[in-house]
Every structure is written in structure tokens, then in C-alpha cells.
Symmetry: C2
Subunit: 636 residues, 2 copies
């Protein structure tokens, strides 16, 4: 465990930069992904996904709304849901990180263009929303429960923070500050005693305070966090727990209600706690998230068991077929875990980040980056239909990845996360460099004590577990290279051929390194069989197969004749061997025949047929056409 | 199998009276429940539930809406959801059957009073709805998808049919006929090419045709059935399958979408098919319902796996904890199965009626008849909260029985079903009396060939399986006493001490009976262990216990120290013995402890503690305070 506390001197180019905490994050300028799984996805994100989002936001009119505000026809012609402004802002945030990463001039120009459109419709007092406040529209702040006005400002602010951190104190920043100032004036201690139905403004205002040094934004965020849970939002059919307005944040015991809302709020609670030194609030947020991980999280790291309200279910209510696991909740979980990692220095939070990145965030986009899963169930009973390239999907019915949604929060959330991904790879403490995620990378930074350090990472992870870290810039004296060892690897990891000594989720190599020194960490990524807590009734009598951080699944396209995965059986102690990026095992297919009534005297299964079964990474499923799929394999 | 076809001469006092079919139903005047399980519930229904509904419909203003229509303040002051008129009509239907059953003068006067209120607001052309058509209200028929206008007329008509069949050709009948005539004029072959978002008008119009002899009502019902599935309703986020407007009725393969809508529509399809001699439509409706029973039905007979849309899930997607199993869907399933029984004479449909009556319909009302389950899940993970006596519950959050709901379709649906329950007990064919449900009863009727017949039934069923049928009115010559033998009893049933010869779900005793003759059927109601089709993943590795037609469950109030049912385990071949109206077995309780992460290497359960476990009828659960509960018991 790292107990030192860093004090930030320069500001890293990354979304989350606490002013204090056990670890200092590194920026996109300090960590460059040079190849492999995540670099590939970053490349597709920049080349395909971000332009795809721009294409669609133009096509469906969400960008055009800003021009219509200007020409006075907005009340009549506005398109999109009440939160559509936010998707424009999230796209700009993605563009901003991408510009920061690559220096892309075309994107830079596009940001300027969008900024001009947005700025032109900002009211003199700073208020900015295309949906409220004009003649023919509902008045400002007239629907805090569902209107998403503060949520939209939050995403505007996060885009502005991305601009600031990437070195552009530009008009977008000015716009966002005016909007944030208006929020502070309207909702301050003497203002409206109210919160937004969808948390988001809170994380944004903390980050704006961090980026600008303006304390009032932090105070406003803290006020919003404290106000929540006190019933200022209306009681609704789903209950106030839907938007976490049922119990004050520091009194709650577990995440509940709408998963994305709950996770954004928890991220904000951690941020506020860190900035204000509020140990009680930090402990409360942490305990809630820990219980959520222990009882309300899918094997993939996905969260949200209910379709009805995109919400957490009861403890251990985790149906794989009806899993909602919204992509944005995967992003939200990364946000919380990363903040806890920075605050505490506990490497195990990196396990959570990794699981959610590989199995939720990476699952959403199609290989070509132009279609997305909104929900990420772990079992698909009926082959889905491929959405047409020009079709706007309804989220609840999206059975396969779709190019765009009426509620299209997920594509831009994936885009902004992937563009800034380098920021989640490593962090530093006083005299240690902590590598959190393993990918080919070039890392050049300074330790907390000011010494410059540089390493290059080479690895085929997660397909193989061999991670070679070469020191290229070695400061004088001893320092620690700390390498995260995931919980699943604790028993088999080696460092330079010796069993790794794992302490609190890290192996630490401390010495006076010389340039050219290499440390070799080998993680046991061979496929392994995983069972679930017996209280997760929905997967009783089943096992899953994981390979390193990657959850695998069976897809019917890999079965003889495209047989339904419903008939698959495996032995509980089945031998599994690696195969490509997946695994292979001998399973069985049992035939099924309908009875008039599917309940009766217990009897044996039908006569099983052995089958050579290939398992593929869950994140890759449904890239080969419609298929039935399952992560959990029933045992014989 | 009974192949004869009856032709109705007199009209039985019962909700469904086909003009043709294998069996003729008997009326409330022909079948009197004299004691036991169902007579008790009928008594509570009349004494408590019907007055309770009247109290609440008055209190929440749904009855008052009719007076406000009259005084012109309705547009301003209307209360209740868009379908609240229908709950007034369903209550009147319940009152009408209750008057028919008991001759209750107070209820009769109340019906007259309500009729006057309703009639006073009927428009001159027959249109009748408190929600549409007045200044300040949406225009008539302006929201067919969600407005429920035709649905409301349907329930008005069914109340009127109940009045007609119980001998009252009164003002309510005249009102309903005017409303039905207006519907025929508006939606006839040359009228609006449209259907209602919620099927119901169809079954109602067929029954009105049957009750009045007016063919045009049948034709209109047939037209509505044919029109559905052709996309006249708007495409919505849930898809047109939500209201079965996705595929024409005769082309569909399974029930899908909103369960109550699907079941009401299927009942209507059977009705139309029977009245028009449309064998293709009958076969289609039957095949869809059969596949639904084989793949989309809970052990309780409950239907609807999704909360989001109160809808069927995919085949074999039947999570017990998240089961919706709306009470009204249980009523709807009884409606379909009973119609198929009358049409085909196949006794097995009586099994479906029985299962749904005991395990869904009987589960909804509390012992005192003053609180109701809206949803009927088979697993409760968290002890629910008891609703306050004066609290209107939100259906989606109702965790235990509640006195009333914002959407309060279920209480009145239970009330009308229980009041008319005698009508589901027996039926006749040409020369046979078919006893379908076993309860102490006095049955006096005529066979299809005109001979009068009378029997008395004495039994402690379903707690014991001994059914004694005494012939009290024996016609001259041979006739058949046909006794349904449920599928679960096929192997152990005896008749007069000899193994029963079961043919197509019935044992048939044919002879020239003399008055005083007794036939004794013994059904093996000892508790039995039941397993599920392996494709129902959510209950893999678990068994249930049934006792006769009754599904049993474990409730935490019966466990030592109120231990959570989550830790229960039983051997797959556990010995179960009868105990009171439930069962008793030796199970185990395994302790559970949270891990940080609930997935990992397969390991053994904790050290189990033997426990003497009492199982109670599922229909009785939650009558002893908050409890966790489960029907499916994990095996060791």
C-alpha cells in the first residue's frame, strides 16, 4: 500500500486530476500507447468512432439545434431528447482528448466551429440549453427531475476541462465557465435548494475547480452532493432511489437505482471528499461501491440488472440474460474505481478498472467503431438482428450493436474514454512509478519527488502474460517500479523468473535502476474456470471461463451447424486450453425437446454429443453476424 | 376426448357461453360451491373484497368522475389513470355475479345507483368515457394506443353481460348496448381502420353477441381481431409487439409483448373462431398458447417475465426473482384455457385453469380480502414492506400486498373472477357431466341430451385427494360421469379403489346410475419434487415442491431465527411429507460470507446446518409479515 501523499505541481493531461491523494495520475503526454489491444482501439476511435458521432449528431439534428436557437426556430423544430446537447459536448470532449493525443488539425478546427455554434446561443447570464427557456419552451429549471439541464452543463464543463488540460484556454472554456457561474448563482447556498435528476454536474464542477483553481466550483459541487438524498426531487413510480434522492449520500449503504446516475454521483462524492479532506464521505462512497462490487456486479464488471429503470437490482439479483449492464455504467464504474485508486493508492482498484475496460467498454463498439452496444447482457437466447447502417435504434430493443440510438449516450461516452485511455495506465507516488494497465507503452514522467523517469513497456497482454518493462530514463538513486498484479494472478505471477511477492495487489521492484535495465513480469493468463457466489441464483450450476482480465463466451456461430448455445454443457472441472485470443475445451451438446409443460419429475438430460468448443472474448461477440451467446456454461 | 357438439338451449349464468363447442358450461345457478378452499374465498370476496373495491373507487374519485362529467368540471378535476372507468365497470361485473350468486339486495341497489351515475354522462350517440371528448379533454379516439377507450367499453359490456345472464335486462345493459353500437358505427368495415392499444373490446363484443343474439357485435369483434397485427398502432420504443400489433393473429407463433393484452386477445381469437367456425384461427390461437405454456410460463401458471413492459420474455427466460406474473395475466390465462376447454372438450385445459387459479389468482388477495399482489414473483430476496391501510401503491414498487394501486386492475379482476367461480367447476356434453375442479359443490343441471342430472361433491381437496361424488338426481339410462385427472395424478389416481383408467385427462364412469350411488376418486396429492426443463436457466440446480395443484414455497418466517431463504439447500431426492396444507422436509442452511468479489475458483459451500423445513402454499405467503421467500430450492 502506498501511503505517501502527492502534491500536484504540473497538471497532467487527463480527465481527473485530484489536488491530493496517494497517487498522481499521468497525462496523455506522459503515457503513449504504442501498440496492442488498446492502441488499436484508440486508433479506430479516432479514425472511425469520433467522425461517426459527428456524422450522426449532424444527421439527427442535435448540432443543428444550436443554429436553430440562433435563428429563433428552435422551439418549433428542436430535435432529439432533452439531453441531446450533452452528446454534442461529450463528442467535443472526445475530440479534445484526441487533439491532445494526436494534434489533429482537422479536429481542432471542428472544435472551433462547434464552439462558435454553441457560444452563439448562450444567454447573457451564462445559461445555455437548447431545450428550455425560450418562448414556446418550458421555463429554465422547470423540470429538474427529467430535464437534464444541469447534466448538460456538466458535460459542457468536462469538455472545457479537456480543452484546458490539453493547453487550450479557449472560447469553449469561457462558455463553460459562464455556464458554471450561472449554475453557482442559481443553485448556490442562497439559491434554489435543488439537484439535477441525473448527477454529472458534480464531477464536472470539481474538475473545473481543479483545472481553474476556483474554489467556488468545488463548493457548489459539495453542496449538490450534500443536498442529494433529501427528497427535493419528486417521488416517482420508480421511487426516489431511481435518482439517489432517497437517502443522503453519506448515509447510503449500497449503490441503487439508475446505475449511471449512481456511479456518476459516487465518483463526485469521492472527488468532493478528496478535495475537502472529508474522510467520512470518502469512507461512505467507498463502502457503498465495495458492497456493490461484492453483491451487485456482473462477472464482466457490468452493473445494472434491470431494464425497467436501467437500475441495480437487489443484492445477488444478477440475471445474465436480462442483464442491462449499460455501456455508460461501465464507464461510470471506471470513473469511480480510478478515483479510489488515486485517492488510496490501492492497486486492487486497478483490477476493477481493467475488468470494466476489457469487458464492458471494449465490448460496446463494433470492430469497425461504427456501431455500439447500449446494453451488455451475458446471455443472448435469440439471435439478434443487425441494425441497418442508417437506422436509429431504440435502446431497449437493441439486440445487436447499432450505429445510433434515440438515447445515444453510450457512443460518445466510449469515444471520450478511449481517447483519454492513456491516462489510466500508470500513476506516480513520491518515489514510485505504478504501472496499472499493461499495454505496449512509452511512459515519461516525474516521480512525486521530482526525479524524471522513463520506461518502455512491451507485451502481448492480455493474450499473453509476458510484460517487459525497460528503464530508459533512470534517475539517480533508488526508486520503486510497482507493477499491479491482478487478484486472479496472485498465485502464479513471476518477476524475472521468481515468484512474485505481491503486497496489496502490487509487486514492487526497488533499486537504483540503470538505463537499459529490464524487469519482466509474467502473469498467468491461461484460461481458468470461474464459479459464482452461491447467492447469485441465476447462474447456479454453471461456470464461466476467463483468460487473464478477459471474460470469454460461447457463440453459436462456433458450434456445429450453428447449434443454439442453450444445449451446451461442460464438466465443472473441464480442462481449458488457450486458443488464439480465446480458449478451447471439450463440451457437450444436449438435445432438447419441448414437453407440453416444462416442469415435472426430475430426469436426466438427453443423450449428450461431445463438441469441441471454442470460446471467444466476450468483448468480441456479435462481430460475426447474429448468434446466440452465453458467458455462463451449465455444468453436467 | 369428447367429440360431441352441444347446442345451447338455455343460457347458463356464467361469463362465457359459446353457441357451440364440445362442452356447455354450467352457470352459477347450476353449480353452488358449498364449502372448502374456493367457497371460503368466494365468501371473503363478497364480504370484504367487493366492498373494499367500492370504498377505494369512491375514495380515489374514480366513481366521482362520472358525477363531475355531469356537472361540467371533469376536464379540470378528473382523477385516476386513463382506464379508471374500466375498474368501476369490473367492480360492477363482480357485483352482478355476486348478486346472481347470492341475491344480495344491498349490492343490487348499489348497481342501480352506479348505473344511474354512468348513464347520466353517456353522450347521445352512445359514446361513454370520462377521459375524452369534452372541452379541455383530448378528442375521442385521439389516442388509441394508450387511451383505453375501447378497453373501457369492453369492460362496460362485460358488466352488462353479467347483468343479462343473471336475469337483469336493465339500464346498464341499455347503456352498454348503446356504447357498443357506437363502437360498431365508428370502427365498422367502413369506419376507422383501427384497434385499441389494449385488447378487451373483442372478448366483450363476442359475449354481447352471444347474450343478445346480435350478430353485428360478433362481426365487429372478428374485424378487430383481423385488424390487429397490421401496424395500425404507432411503433413505440417497446415495439408493436407490446400490443400485439406486430404480426396478424393468425400468423403469430407464440404469445408476446404485454401479457394481459396478449391473453385477452387470444381469448377473443378463440371466441371468434368458435362462433364463426374458423378452424384456422382456432388452431393458431391454440398453438400460440401451447407454445407459451411450454416455454414462457412459470411453475405457478403465472405469465410475464418482464417488469419493464409487463411482458413475456424470450422462450425459457423465466427468472423467479424478477417474475412479473401479473395477477391479471393469471385471470387472462384462465380465460384462454377455459375457452379452449369448452371448444375442444380436452380435460387437460382444466389443469391449466386449476394451476392458475390456485397459484396466481388465489395468491393475489390477502387472507382478509383487503390487500392484493399486483405482481407474483416466485422468489423474494428482501423482506417487503407492508403497505399502510390507507396507502395507494405504485404497482412497480409493490413489494407486498397493498390495499389499492394507482393502476388497480388486479383487485377488481380477482373480484369478478371469484364471484363467478362456480362457472369453472363443471361442464356438460351430450350425455356426460364433466367435473373439472374439485370442491365441495352441489351441481344440478341438464346433460346436452336434455336429461336432468344432479350430483353432490364432498372433498377436502386440495389438502387431501379424496373426492366423493354422490349422484342425487339420476336420469334414466346410461350417462357418463367424467372426472378430470390432472397430469400430475395420472399415475396414482384411483376410482372406487381401482387404478383409474385415464383417457385424455379424464376418467369416465359410465353406467345407469341410481340416486345415492357414489363414485370415489382419489388423487395422489402427496407432496412431490418437481424439476424444470434444463433450458430454464434461472432455476438450474433447484427443485420445487408441489402438493396436488398447489405450488409450495419456503418463507423465512418458518426458518430458525428468521434466517434468509438464500442459504437453503435440499437434496435433489429429498423425502417430503405432507404437513397441514403444506409439507415438511429436512434441508440445510449454508452460511454465506461476502468476498470482495463474488466470482472465483469453484469451491464448496460453507458448512451446512440441518434444518427442519416447513413449506407453505405459495398462495398463502406474506400473510405473516415481511419475509424472504422462494419456490425453487437449490439442491446440494
Amino acid at each position: 500500500m502506498t501511503s505517501s501523499v502527492h502534491t500536484s505541481t504540473t497538471t497532467p493531461v487527463t480527465p481527473v486530476v485530484p489536488s491530493t491523494g496517494a497517487l498522481r495520475p499521468l497525462g496523455l503526454d506522459e503515457v503513449v500507447l504504442t501498440g496492442g489491444f488498446w492502441a488499436d482501439r484508440q486508433r479506430v476511435n479516432g479514425a472511425a468512432t469520433i467522425p461517426h458521432c459527428d456524422h450522426w449528431e449532424t444527421r439527427v439534428g442535435w448540432i443543428d439545434n444550436f443554429d436553430r436557437a440562433l435563428d429563433g426556430t428552435l422551439a418549433e423544430h428542436r430535435t432529439g431528447r432533452e439531453f441531446s446537447d450533452s452528446d454534442v459536448y461529450k463528442m467535443i470532449e472526445a475530440m479534445a482528448w484526441e487533439v491532445g493525443r494526436t494534434g489533429d488539425h482537422v479536429l481542432e478546427a471542428r472544435i472551433a466551429e462547434l464552439t462558435a455554434q454553441i457560444g452563439a446561443v448562450q444567454e447573457p447570464d451564462g445559461y445555455l440549453n437548447t431545450r428550455f427557456g425560450r418562448p414556446g419552451q418550458p421555463p429554465r429549471w422547470s423540470d429538474l427531475a427529467w430535464g437534464h439541464e444541469l447534466y448538460c452543463v456538466g458535460h459542457l464543463v468536462q469538455a472545457a476541462v479537456a480543452r484546458l488540460r490539453t493547453g487550450h484556454d479557449d472560447e469553449l472554456v469561457a462558455i463553460a465557465r459562464r455556464a458554471a457561474d450561472q449554475v453557482c448563482a442559481e443553485f448556490g447556498p442562497d439559491g434554489r435548494d435543488a439537484v439535477c435528476g441525473h448527477p454529472e454536474i458534480e464531477v464536472a464542477l470539481v474538475e473545473l475547480a481543479r483545472a481553474t483553481g476556483e474554489r467556488r466550483y468545488l463548493d457548489q459541487a459539495a453542496l449538490f452532493v450534500e443536498r442529494r438524498g433529501r427528497g427535493t426531487l419528486p417521488d416517482i413510480e420508480l421511487g426516489r432511489e431511481y435518482y439517489q434522492d432517497d437517502v443522503p449520500v453519506r448515509d447510503a449503504e449500497v449503490l441503487r437505482g439508475h446505475a449511471v446516475r449512481a456511479l456518476y454521483l459516487t465518483a463526485a462524492a469521492v472527488d468532493v471528499a478528496v478535495e475537502t479532506g472529508d474522510a467520512g464521505l470518502l469512507a461512505a462512497a467507498r463502502a457503498q461501491y465495495e458492497r456493490t462490487l461484492a453483491r451487485r456486479t456482473y462477472l464482466t464488471g457490468g452493473m445494472g440488472a434491470h431494464h425497467q429503470d436501467e437500475a441495480y437490482g437487489d443484492d445477488f439479483e444478477l440475471p445474465p440474460d436480462r442483464a442491462y449492464c449499460e455501456t455508460c455504467a461501465g464507464v461510470g464504474s471506471v470513473m469511480v474505481a480510478w478515483r479510489l485508486l488515486l485517492a488510496t493508492g490501492e492497486a486492487a482498484w486497478g483490477d476493477v478498472v481493467e475488468r470494466s475496460l476489457y469487458n464492458v467498454v471494449a465490448t460496446s463498439p463494433a470492430q469497425d467503431g461504427r456501431a455500439f452496444f447500449y446494453t451488455n447482457p451475458l446471455h443472448k437466447r435469440v439471435p439478434g438482428e443487425t441494425a441497418a447502417d442508417d437506422e436509429v435504434s431504440k435502446r431497449a430493443l437493441s439486440r445487436l450493436r447499432a450505429p445510433w440510438f434515440e438515447v445515444s449516450c453510450c457512443p460518445t461516452n466510449v469515444a471520450r474514454t478511449l481517447a483519454a485511455l492513456g491516462g489510466y495506465v500508470a500513476a506516480v507516488s513520491d518515489d514510485a512509478l505504478h504501472v496499472q494497465q499493461y499495454a505496449p507503452a512509452r511512459i515519461r514522467t516525474r516521480l512525486g519527488d521530482g526525479r524524471s523517469v522513463g520506461i518502455d513497456v512491451e507485451t502481448g497482454y492480455p493474450v499473453d502474460g509476458d510484460v517487459r518493462v525497460r528503464v530508459v530514463d533512470a534517475p539517480a538513486g533508488e526508486w520503486t517500479l510497482a507493477l499491479r498484479v491482478p487478484a486472479w494472478a496472485a498465485d502464479g505471477a513471476t518477476v524475472d523468473g521468481e515468484p512474485a511477492v505481491v503486497d496489496a495487489g502490487e509487486v514492487r521492484v526497488r533499486r537504483a535502476f540503470a538505463a537499459g535495465d529490464e524487469v519482466r513480469l509474467v502473469l498467468p493468463v491461461a484460461p481458468r474456470v470461474t464459479a459464482a457466489d452461491a447467492r447469485i441464483d441465476a447462474v447456479r450450476g454453471s461456470v464461466a471461463v476467463e483468460r487473464g482480465p478477459v471474460v470469454l463466451c460461447a457463440e453459436s456461430v462456433d458450434l456445429p451447424g450453428g447449434a443454439d448455445v442453450a444445449g451446451l454443457r461442460v464438466d465443472a472441472d473441464v480442462a481449458v486450453r488457450a486458443d488464439g485470443d480465446g480458449a478451447r475445451l471439450t463440451g457437450r451438446l444436449v438435445p432438447a425437446a419441448d414437453a407440453d409443460w416444462p416442469y415435472g419429475v426430475p430426469g436426466p438430460d438427453g443423450e449428450p454429443v461431445p463438441v469441441d468448443l471454442r470460446l471467444v472474448p466476450y468483448h468480441s461477440w456479435a462481430n460475426r453476424g447474429p448468434s446466440t451467446m452465453r458467458v455462463w456454461l451449465p455444468t453436467t
